[in-house]
Symmetry: C2
Subunit: 232 residues, 2 copies
């Protein structure tokens, strides 16, 4: 790990707790009209299919905000909330800009920041990442990811962009994620990988593995990540 | 100015003192073989012509590091230093990653950061901006600019990208620069503009105007910029 110079991070689930944050915003904006946690799960369930439209070339790149604005209509209909006004729907999309970091994230990143370049490598757009970073105080050095290259993970273009845009070799970049498929795709492009176990991501409805045997290492927190990388 | 939400900055000359920084690195790497300040001026003189090759479509986008690597060969030849090894030439290019911020920049940006999104909108690439920010402690929220869009200022694509990628209207973005031509191009795309007077940029060889009558306002420091924008 001596040669690692930059850490790039998945964000939804790895850095921020999307489920409780989205549910909180649904309750704030829709009251008890919907089951907020089920709504969050159903909305997140449309995440991958909506990006597949872009990945397969069936439509040009559009930001995750645009995809969320489309999929929220479907989820509202399913939840019997067809009459929610368009302005409220626009506001619902901003729930994804108002998610909180897991409690270990900022203390761990503050230790990592003096030694490593830190950047999100997320499917969320730049405005979204800026909003999340300002909300939680995430010390990013740059915002990388889908919008910078017009591709969604797990397209190779996203992983390849991190070393290229940071002026590094792939082996000098460590991808940090709570999802083994994201790490597998990063490894395919020559990046190092670290798995973070986030058992609460899906609110107990799905149990992520305790570790990823294919990753360079697996940790349970950003504090342990800093330990493993020798950050004081 | 009430509606301004983000400030985007020219970097070379506006945020960092390129001339004394490049001269310092030339002296460090080449000793007294060259007149370091004249070398810096001559290298900077090739800045605009080298980018014009990209702007006019005569060559595809290449980072400023690549353009600097090419132009340093010409400047070395002119300065009678043809025998400098390639590895040293590569290192010379990194002089542009090792420039210091003007003394007023970080204190001013620390006042501006809680209230405004801050991002470079420079012709320097992402790796270069990350290096400058980490060296001086610039609190950027994201790195925007030429490399994100594959165009060089003053191409409209660069100015247009700032509001688009930050999810704002052009009138919500204020471009800050020490060069009236940069501000004029930003205004053409609907951005607000603030001129910063940097009399030492060219080491007295060229005198920038004291103010820009076409800008929304003109200041002499980032502290005055924070004052004018009501940042506590």
């Amino acid at each position: 790990m001596d040669e690692v110079r930059a850490l790039v991070f998945d964000v939804f689930g790895t850095v921020v707790d999307w489920r409780s944050g989205v549910a909180r915003e649904m309750t704030r904006l829709l009251g008890d009209r919907v089951d907020a946690e089920r709504f969050a799960d159903d909305w997140r369930g449309r995440y991958s299919p909506s990006m597949d439209e872009v990945r397969t070339g069936r439509r040009p790149y559009a930001t995750l905000d645009v995809l969320h604005r489309e999929s929220v209509d479907e989820v509202l209909a399913e939840h019997g909330a067809d009459d929610v006004p368009a302005a409220v729907r626009d506001e619902l999309v901003l729930a994804w800009h108002r998610l909180d970091a897991w409690p270990d994230v900022v203390p761990g990143m503050r230790r990592l920041s003096p030694r490593f370049v830190l950047a999100p490598l997320s499917n969320g757009g730049i405005a979204l990442q800026v909003a999340l970073a300002r909300r939680s105080g995430l010390p990013w050095d740059a915002v990388l990811g889908a919008e910078v290259v017009g591709h969604y993970k797990p397209d190779a273009e996203v992983y390849d962009s991190a070393p290229r845009l940071l002026g590094l070799e792939p082996g000098q970049v460590l991808m940090v994620a709570a999802h083994v498929s994201d790490l597998a795709a990063a490894r395919d492009r020559g990046l190092r990988t670290a798995y973070v176990h986030r058992p609460a991501e899906f609110g107990g409805r799905r149990t992520p593995p305790a570790s990823d045997p294919d990753a360079d290492f697996s940790v349970v927190s950003f504090g342990e990540l800093a330990d493993r990388l020798g950050a004081p």
